[in-house]
Amino acid sequence: AQSVTQLDSQVPVFEEAPVELRCNYSSSVSVYLFWYVQYPNQGLQLLLKYLSGSTLVESINGFEAEFNKSQTSFHLRKPSVHISDTAEYFCAVRRQAGTALIFGKGTTLSVSS
């Protein structure tokens, strides 16, 4: 069975500071890895995903995540955050296409000026 651990439930940072949201997973088989973002009163939106190939994946709004197989991690990073990045971030795994996503408990990123 797969599981996802998000080590930090809340991460407060100042605007323009770097941030890392940590995610570790456990699985006995290869998985697909995802980060979803949930803004207040909105649905989950896909931020980025790792399926295969390059272990570093990037989103269009400056976030990146690196798949580390040996450490079973998929940490999310951004070198300089904005107020608008304030949201709930969920890490998720999927064993194969067509199966359900397994989510972590989420990390609340709060960006202040």
Partner: protein, 114 residues
């Protein structure tokens, strides 16, 4: 439609009442998932449809929960005899086909059982 649509957005039910939550997936999407998100938690899988076939219902917490997708498009999640622990946001997601890895989520229905 342009996105996954869920209705109602909010539902308050008295304990013991039956509720029905609706999901309109993106047009043509084959796969449909239901998740339950309790306050402060990540979404948890409830059930999965491929077209009209319910292929996995292992996440349904009890026999009070029932889901259907009779024509392979709109899906309804029904909860009978609601209890306070059923209070949560119920999320629906759809994917274009079985081999597609990206799931698109609706805004969810927030169910409060009083």
């Amino acid at each position: 439609g342009a996105g996954v649509s869920q209705s109602p957005r909010y539902k308050v039910a008295k304990r013991g009442q039956d509720v029905a939550l609706r999901c309109d997936p993106i047009s043509g999407h084959v796969s449909l998932f239901w998740y339950q998100q309790a306050l402060g938690q990540g979404p948890e899988f409830l059930t999965y449809f491929q077209n009209e076939a319910q292929l996995d219902k292992s996440g349904l917490p009890s026999d009070r929960f029932f889901a259907e997708r009779p024509e392979g498009s709109v899906s309804t999640l029904k909860i009978q005899r609601t209890q306070q622990e059923d209070s949560a946001v119920y999320l629906c997601a759809s994917s274009r086909n079985v081999g597609n890895t990206e799931a698109f989520f609706g805004q969810g229905t927030r169910l409060t059982v009083v």
